[in-house]
Symmetry: C2
Subunit: 152 residues, 2 copies
């Protein structure tokens, strides 16, 4: 029941990009140093997000990545699915990678896992990166002294 490093990095990178939305392309290197994510690993992650249409990229000098859509139209669930595949705890209750379990007809574990999957996706498919930005801002404002930096 663990979030992979890959998805964790992806969420952080996505929050970073959402905070800079509409400010042009951001380079991998900038994200990787700011968020302390191994650069080569982050390359793979951002590439995957581009391939599913969450990010746009520009090659060459002054190139980089930016959101393909407004942050309020991208959910955490979409990002996690792009990297880790199905969110469901067992495949027999997955929408995106359904496979029947061995004894589906009377599988009672299935019922419980379905409840859990729904509970998880209720959160992940509802929360957008616009929400995450608000939370970051709230979190920054609450800090005494009002330092201008924030960390994801």
């Amino acid at each position: 029941m663990k979030l992979s490093k890959k998805s964790d990095y992806a969420l952080r990178a996505m929050i970073y990009l959402s905070m800079q939305h509409k400010k042009g392309a951001i380079q991998i290197k900038e994200i990787s140093t700011s968020e302390r994510i191994p650069q080569k690993f982050l390359e793979n992650i951002l590439l995957a997000l581009r391939k599913v249409g969450i990010l746009n990229s520009k090659i060459g000098l002054k190139g980089g990545y930016e959101l393909a859509r407004s942050p309020d139209l991208i959910t955490l669930g979409e990002v996690i699915r792009a990297l880790d595949g199905a969110i469901a705890p067992v495949d027999c209750v997955s929408k995106t990678s359904y496979r029947p379990c061995s004894e589906e007809v009377t599988c009672v574990i299935r019922g419980v896992m379905m409840e859990i999957r729904n509970a998880i996706t209720d959160v992940l498919d509802r929360v957008t990166f616009a929400d995450m930005c608000s939370r970051v801002k709230d979190s920054v404002e609450k800090k005494e002294g009002g330092v201008l930096t924030y960390t994801i």
Copy 2:
């Protein structure tokens, strides 16, 4: 976000034992063949459940395993934690294996993961093996022809 084979096997074995509650010790071999679980693997699993006080065992002829408590006093969460450790998607929101995340003060991912952890444990710490037994029985009754066997 995947349930391990180990936990899946454990749940199936526990449901099997719950269905036979108060009928004396059940041998590993019987569970392993009925539920199609590799016997040696199941040994490890049942041993782990005994060590945390969920099962009792008897060695020797006519020995075997049985529940240490009534099925309505054992939750799915307790079993999964015994085998896979923490249920929380990231350690910084785990009750049982808490570790601060790198930038906890303003970690907004933490907030979402906390919601998810709560959603998952709401289910897993509420549903007991007595509930699972009822579901199995319901599922059997609904089957046309009323075959007397059930499969988990």
